[in-house]
Symmetry: C2
Subunit: 166 residues, 2 copies
């Protein structure tokens, strides 16, 4: 049986421990990004969408869903809601990515990359492309270690940090 | 208003086009990875979990949910279901990541990285760590272009490829 991640130390064998919901970082991230609509709203925020009506129209979700998701994403600190006023208009609110929200971009780019690699019917890599402004080359995400080595999927160890009370 | 991604060409301004569900690669990826339980099952597959009962217990989901998700993930080609038989036992089935499924790892690592950076209460970076087997350093995901430049979030252009009928 092939294992992609190699579990080391107390994590091996897998049957000896549980990735409990309050400790597993993936589960905790999914508590925040819990729905398809949360991802679509974050996509729109990256594209520069800021007004409620535009989130509804561009993410193609209902107003109640958009309102609920925006409230959650603000409450979790991924977006901020701030008042603004155009000359001669009443005060309205707009939404802007925080640093915490913007830091989710590698996850979204990872989804784009995977989708274009595996779900495209025409094999053309999709029509949307992320490019590096400086050099114009396509941008993707990859695994890399702190020593700046590119890391293949099969070269990963999952370890348990010794330090800390948990 | 800050925009993280810079839209270029026909994509600018954002109000002139729609990221339609059947074209947006994020939306299409989320059609496949549509639920929290799908992510948790993929997490377990990366950890080497292969048997139905172990997916249920380790992802802490119900049997009907696990059965539905595994069926979908097999049908979408992220997992394969194959028979195996231990000596003296009846034939059973196990699940294994395909190349398409394994290629989702950067997305999961992106979620781990974001979660440990932004959701950890103790600031210790969490107890689970992904390490590069060769050098022992922590592994994360980052944006990088085909010319191998590290790309900051603000250096991204979103462009529309000219080629193709779509």
């Amino acid at each position: 049986m092939e294992t992609i991640l190699h579990l080391t130390g107390p994590l091996d064998p897998r049957s000896g421990w549980r990735a409990s919901p309050d400790r597993c970082p993936i589960a905790r991230a999914l508590d925040v990004m819990s729905t398809r609509s949360a991802f679509l709203i974050m996509r729109e925020a990256f594209y520069g969408t800021s007004r409620f009506d535009d989130f509804v129209g561009r993410a193609e979700i209902s107003e109640p869903v958009a309102a609920a998701r925006l409230r959650e994403l603000v409450s979790e600190g991924l977006l901020v809601r701030e008042p603004y006023r155009e000359p001669g208009q009443r005060t309205r609110h707009r939404y802007r990515l925080t640093e915490k929200g913007a830091d989710l971009l590698p996850v979204l780019v990872g989804l784009i990359q995977w989708s274009q690699r595996w779900l495209d019917d025409d094999g053309a890599g999709g029509v949307l492309a992320l490019r590096h402004r400086d050099c114009g080359e396509r941008v993707g995400v990859g695994l890399r270690c702190a020593a700046d080595h590119e890391v293949a999927v099969g070269e990963l160890d999952l370890t348990l940090a010794a330090a800390g009370a948990r």
